[in-house]
Symmetry: C2
Subunit: 373 residues, 2 copies
C-alpha cells in the first residue's frame, strides 16, 4: 500500500450500501469484502454549508482540467415532438475531453495522486479511457487503458494523444475487462476502474449541485440520462441526497434510466424480466454494458426516486441524433441522443405528464463517435 | 432588404475604424463604401453598468447553444519550459461546436435572425463553417458553407451533421472565398462571413469580459493567441476597451499575435517586411490566411497595446501540441498549440519578462483536426 499524502480527507471511509460494512479509504479496495458489492465514500462530518463534499482536503488538491460547470440550454424547438413542460439539456459533452466522465476522473485521479499512485489501469469503451488518459497525463501518472479494438477511431486516437499506453483488445467488452484485470494481477498496478471507483462518483455528484445552482426558474421534476455502468446516474443521486441533507433543495427529482434495446440489463431488472436475454449490438457504445456492477444500487435509486427504465431502438436513437444536430445545433454521440429517444418513450407511456419539466444529460460529443456519420 | 425585427438594438450603427464613415445596421454591408475597410458596430449609448453591450435587445433574443464561460486553468507544469509569471490557459475549445468561433457565431446568427434572413453563406477553413452550421440549424436558417476539400474530415463531417449544405472547393483558400462570393452574387443570399461581420466581433468580446470576471488573482499582463483573420483578437480588444470605458478594468493587456512561419502576413506587417513572400503550407490550418481583411486594424491594436507578432515553425507547433496533451491533459488543434510556441518565442526574445503573467487562448479541440495524429 502506497503512503497516503495529507491531501486526502481524514474523515472519509468506504462503505457498502448493501450490507453496511465499512473500510478505511484505499485505492485498491473496489468491492465489499463481506458481500462483494462495490463501495461508496462516507464522510465522517458533512458540513451544513452549501458546498459539495469532496474526498480531498481542498480544491487546491484537485487535478483539474476545467471540468464541470457545463451549460444548460432550454430546448425550445422540441414542443411538438415532446409534449411535456420545459425541456432543459445539460451539455456534458462540453467537458475537457468531450464527455461527462471528466467530472468523475478529476476526483478519482486527485485521490490517486493523494495515494502517490504511479501506474493506473482502466478499461473503457472509449470515453472513460480518454478521460483517464488526460488526467493521468496532468497528474504525472502512467495510464494503461484497455479498450475494445472496435471503439471509434477518434476515441482510440485520443487515448494515445494524451500519452497513455493503449491496450486494444479484440473481442467482447467483457474480454477487455478480463484483460485489464489480468494485467493488474500480473503487474500489481492499481485498477482505477471508473465503474467501480467510489471516488469517481464523488466527482459526478457535481452534476446535481450545478442543476440546483443553475437559474432555471424551476427544479426539473425529471432527470433523464443514458445509463451503462451508471457513474453519472448514481453520482447525481448522491449529489441530490447531499443537497437535501444540506437543505439546498427540498425534493428529489425522478431519475430515469435509458438503455438501448439490444443491451438492457437495467430495464430487465426494473421490469422484473429475469429470463436470460442474448446481448446484441447497439450504436450506443457508451451504454453497451451487459452486467453493470452497481445494478443493485441503480435498481434501488429507480424505486426510491420513482424513476423508470426505458429501452430504445437504434433507429430511434440515430433519428434523435439527427434531430438534435440539424434542428437544435447539438452534435452528440448516439449514446447521448438515446436519452431523448427515452424521453419520447416516457411521454408516450404517460410516465412524464404534459406540464412536467425535464432535464436531459447530453453526455458525449459527436466528434468522438464517428461510426454512424 | 429584409424587414428588421424589434430584437435588434435601435441605437446601433456600423462604422469604419479607418475613415470614420457611419452606416445604418445591415446584414449585407460588410465593408465601408468610402474606403473599403471592414466595419465595426457602434452603440449610441453605452451603459456604465458592467454588462457587455450586445447588438440585440436582450439575452432572450440570442440564438444560444451554451457558448462562452469557458474555464481558465493555471498551467503549473510549464515553468521550466516557459520561464515567466503565471500562465493561464482559457479553454476556448470547450464551446458547443469545439472552437471559440461559437462566441461570434451566436451573435452573428442572432442578428441574422433579427433581420429575418432565410439563407446564409459562409466560407471557412472548417471551424467557423461548423459553428455557423450549428447555429443556423438552431435558428432555422439554411446555411451554405464553402470549405476547402482538404479540410480535416471531422470538420467536413460536422458541417453536414448540423444539416448545412457543404460546398467543398478544391484549390487554395482564396478560391474557396471566391466560390462563396460568386454564389452570393448568383443567389442574392447574405454573405455572413465571420471574417468580415461586425456582429461576429461583438460576440467574441465576451472573451475579454470573462477574463476580467475570472478570479485569477491578477489581470494577465499578456494575452496570446493564434491569429488568422483575427476575429477573437479584435473582439477581445474591443471587449477590453469597453471594460476600461465602463471602469471595470484599468489597463489594457499587451495583445500578441502568433502566426505560422509559412503564412505570416501580420508578422510581416508588424516587422515592416513589405517584400512579397510565397505562401506556404502549415499544420495550423485555422490561421492559414494569406490576406486578412482586417489586417490594418490588427496592426493598430499591436501598436496600441504594445503587442508583438511572432512566427513559429510547424515542427515547434506540433511539439507543443504533444506537450500540451501528454503533460498537461489538453488536446488542442495545431492551430491552437501555435500560441504556446509563440509564447516560448516571446519569452526567449525578451518580450515577456520573468515575472509577467500570461493568458493563452486555446482556440480549437484536437478532435476536430486529425490530420497530424
Amino acid at each position: 500500500m502506497s503512503e497516503v499524502s495529507t491531501s486526502i480527507r481524514k474523515d472519509i471511509s468506504l462503505y457498502c450500501s448493501s450490507c453496511g460494512a465499512s473500510f478505511p479509504p484505499d485505492m485498491r479496495l473496489l468491492a465489499c469484502t463481506v458481500c462483494g458489492e462495490p463501495l461508496l465514500v462516507k464522510y465522517g462530518e458533512i458540513s451544513t454549508n452549501p458546498h459539495m463534499e469532496i474526498p480531498v482536503y481542498s480544491c487546491n488538491a484537485l487535478v483539474s482540467l476545467g471540468e464541470g460547470n457545463t451549460p444548460v440550454i432550454k430546448m425550445d424547438k422540441l414542443g411538438s415532438r415532446l409534449p411535456c413542460g420545459n425541456i432543459f439539456a445539460k451539455l456534458e459533452f462540453m467537458n475537457p475531453t468531450g464527455s461527462f466522465k471528466d467530472r468523475g476522473t478529476a476526483m478519482m485521479i486527485s485521490v490517486a495522486k493523494g495515494f502517490n499512485i504511479a501506474n493506473l489501469v482502466e478499461d473503457s469503451s472509449g470515453n472513460a479511457g480518454s478521460s483517464v488518459a488526460a488526467y493521468c497525463g496532468k497528474a504525472g501518472i502512467t495510464a494503461h487503458i484497455f479498450v475494445p479494438s472496435s471503439a471509434p477511431q477518434p476515441k482510440l486516437d485520443q487515448i494515445s494523444v494524451y500519452g497513455a499506453i493503449a491496450h486494444k483488445i479484440e473481442g467482447t467488452r467483457e474480454m477487455v475487462t478480463d484483460a485489464a484485470s489480468d494485467f493488474v494481477d500480473e503487474k500489481g498496478y492499481v485498477y482505477g476502474a471508473h465503474k467501480l471507483s467510489p471516488y469517481f462518483l464523488e466527482g459526478t455528484k457535481a452534476f446535481a449541485y450545478e442543476i440546483a445552482r443553475h437559474n432555471l426558474g424551476e427544479m426539473p421534476e425529471h432527470i433523464i440520462m443514458p445509463v451503462g455502468n451508471g457513474s453519472l446516474y448514481i453520482g447525481a443521486w448522491l449529489g441530490f441526497k447531499e443537497l437535501i441533507f444540506k437543505g439546498v433543495i427540498s425534493k428529489m427529482p425522478k431519475m430515469h434510466v435509458v438503455q438501448a434495446s439490444a443491451v438492457k440489463p437495467l430495464v430487465n431488472l426494473f421490469s422484473g424480466n429475469r429470463k436470460e436475454e442474448p446481448i446484441g449490438i447497439t450504436v450506443a457504445g457508451g451504454i453497451s454494458v451487459s452486467n453493470p456492477p452497481r445494478s443493485k444500487l441503480i435498481g434501488e435509486i429507480l424505486l426510491e426516486t420513482g424513476g423508470h427504465a426505458a429501452a430504445v431502438d437504434d433507429e430511434v436513437i440515430l433519428e434523435w441524433q439527427k434531430i438534435l444536430a440539424q434542428e437544435n445545433g447539438i452534435y452528440c454521440e448516439p449514446t447521448s441522443s438515446s436519452a431523448f429517444a427515452g424521453l419520447e418513450y416516457l411521454i408516450r407511456d404517460g410516465i412524464i405528464a404534459k406540464k412536467e419539466s425535464v432535464l436531459v444529460a447530453v453526455t458525449g460529443f459527436g466528434l468522438k463517435d464517428n461510426l454512424y456519420i
